[in-house]
Symmetry: C2
Subunit: 438 residues, 2 copies
Amino acid sequence: MALIVQKFGGSSVADVEAVRRVARRVVDTRDAGHQVVVVVSAMGDTTDDLLDMSAQIASQPPERELDILLSAGERISMALLAMAVNELGVPAQSYTGAQAGIRTDSHYGRAQIIGMVPERIARAVREGQVAIVAGFQGVSEEEDTTTLGRGGSDTSAVALAAALHADVCEIYTDVDGLFSADPRIVPLAHRLRTISQEETLELAAHGAKILHLRAVEFARRYHVPLHVRSSFSEKEGTWISDRPANPELAGLVPEAALVDPQEEPMEEPIISGIAHDRSQDKITVRGVPNTPGTAARVFEVVAEVGANIDMIVQNVPGEDKARANISFTLPGGDARKALDALEAHQDEIGFKELRYNPDIGKLSLVGAGMRTNPGVSAKLFGALSKAGINIDLISTSEIRISVVTRLEDLDRAVQAVHTAFGLDATESEAVVYGGTGR
Amino acid sequence: MALIVQKFGGSSVADVEAVRRVARRVVDTRDAGHQVVVVVSAMGDTTDDLLDMSAQIASQPPERELDILLSAGERISMALLAMAVNELGVPAQSYTGAQAGIRTDSHYGRAQIIGMVPERIARAVREGQVAIVAGFQGVSEEEDTTTLGRGGSDTSAVALAAALHADVCEIYTDVDGLFSADPRIVPLAHRLRTISQEETLELAAHGAKILHLRAVEFARRYHVPLHVRSSFSEKEGTWISDRPANPELAGLVPEAALVDPQEEPMEEPIISGIAHDRSQDKITVRGVPNTPGTAARVFEVVAEVGANIDMIVQNVPGEDKARANISFTLPGGDARKALDALEAHQDEIGFKELRYNPDIGKLSLVGAGMRTNPGVSAKLFGALSKAGINIDLISTSEIRISVVTRLEDLDRAVQAVHTAFGLDATESEAVVYGGTGR
């Protein structure tokens, strides 16, 4: 018997029919002899409908009230799912984030979990119940409802799995798992059978939308094995884990997915996958005086308005050694305030002009194997060069190389690199690849 | 400065526009110098929509889950209303039943309030906030959400007003107040300016749908003055009170509505109003042995299946002194189970036959003045007789006379009695008279 936390996103409970299907899956897992805790998001469009209403009332509603409003969505889905599971003859009760002991700070709309006290959930499980918990929400020390922000339901699920010492946290979504690239761009992308949490972090941080960074960070910190899989099929998904899976799970999942702890890991492939990101913009500050502290001042000004800088390149053009150009990328939504702040400080910093380019794309190649393989960057640049694609900025970590291209070149770049690294599957896996919501 | 609890039902917050209108009224009250606590029901059709979804999943959903589901409705309306009040520049926060300290037993769907600990609400009011509280819901000792059943939001409002020692509890609805009879039946019915809680109880208990019995009982027990009025107009409604209104309210409400504690009350009218009820059925048990304890046995059998008996008449037909006929009325929904129970005990009780008549109507004449006025019943029977209407059963209290007629005669009966007691207004007040929801 294993303890399994199953998280179902909004698309998995889009309507009453879908809620019934999820209930069936929960009951099947339980019938296989496992204990089940379910984390559920709001149904399909509920969140958007609630946001619409709030937007009709206030352009900037108080965040506390917005959190109360949005938390109604999970209340509805969790109660309906509990009813549906009961209807199949299995006792189930639903619990709010507060009742599940998900304690957060008071940053409404983006609350951080500061403690987990899931006593009621543990008791329910001991008593043979299926516990159904509202994702995306917690409770502050003032006993107010908070929401965890984007990726919140994934985070709720992983945090509960960690606190309950669950054997696995299953993340159900509308795709079959993690892929070597976005199948909408690379039809021959293949599903990853397993991937490390570290690699998943890099992919999530650089544009792969399958799982939220924050949930993966949580899973890594607390050693929670994740299994990302489709709620629309029984197919094995992708295992994200740094430890061997519980052999108890053998009855539940195909044997092929289990890592045999006795067996030496096969030689890892160099590259696990390719992430892409269209959401970043580029700002270039031209003619910055090449004196100590001036570049730092540029980034201070941008940081002060809360813009998150991603990649940076500074270069000194040949003709004028006294001045440098500084380029950086940042989320598109932060560009306006960064530009305004820089303009306001133009005289102080003494730069010549600002250039703004929203039409850039970022490709990130991720793989634990590149740590020990020196030829990766050469192969990457070679593939892009052969495809006639110019590279603008470059940044690297130990297991990732990211390059910025023109936006219109991005898809071709992803395809070329996928092929060059031998990632193409022999035939296309039929999938729909979509983003995750809460 | 007065502390005013304002309760808005589902029809008052049917959509975003209506929520904004309610916010305007709340802010106007506050601008007049008062402290305001608001109790709000779920928006318009929300409850029905949620019930629809639950019915698609389970015919008999677990009551705990149903309460969680339904409580989402008030979460939505209270957060939106708080946003709308803030948008008008007045600080407001919303609170669930649990946060407002509405403690109940664990009878899901029909929970009783067992304690009020509205500390957070009192603090919010002291700090100058408008506190917006979810009606219809509370929290059990197990920290689970409960709902209070029909009339729950009215009860929440009155209970809060009592616990906070509010000066008045305003019940906003879609009519202008309490009327001397249902204006859909009696076009010349007039709005009551004031009425005692005792009379209101009798009216509510005997079919007047304007206010729930339970809320009036609460108001009476804790001496909370009620003001029932329309959310669609500024017009004065009906004051329900056994004590003089707070003179502080003079700035808020027209002077005419305030009882001057110095002034001798005018001679009370004999009759305050006429309630009617089409929802009762009549069962007659014929040929019951006229022996001690047998009649009691009939009512025991009916009580055992949870049917609520209202009026009872027992008579001994002339020809056979050994047997009696027992007739009683009960809510239409209880008739089937009462009939089944009686049939099952026919041999034991020894009665001859059962007769069932769903086509009856009940008219109730209510007025504190009838205590000291001996001619009331004579006038009532005279008026009905002149209109050619037969009376079937009669029951009385100190301030009420109820009679059962044929259903098809009920409207004419109400009209005839309204006229006979001089209640007709000189011209029709244009109103829509409807039931209340939660």
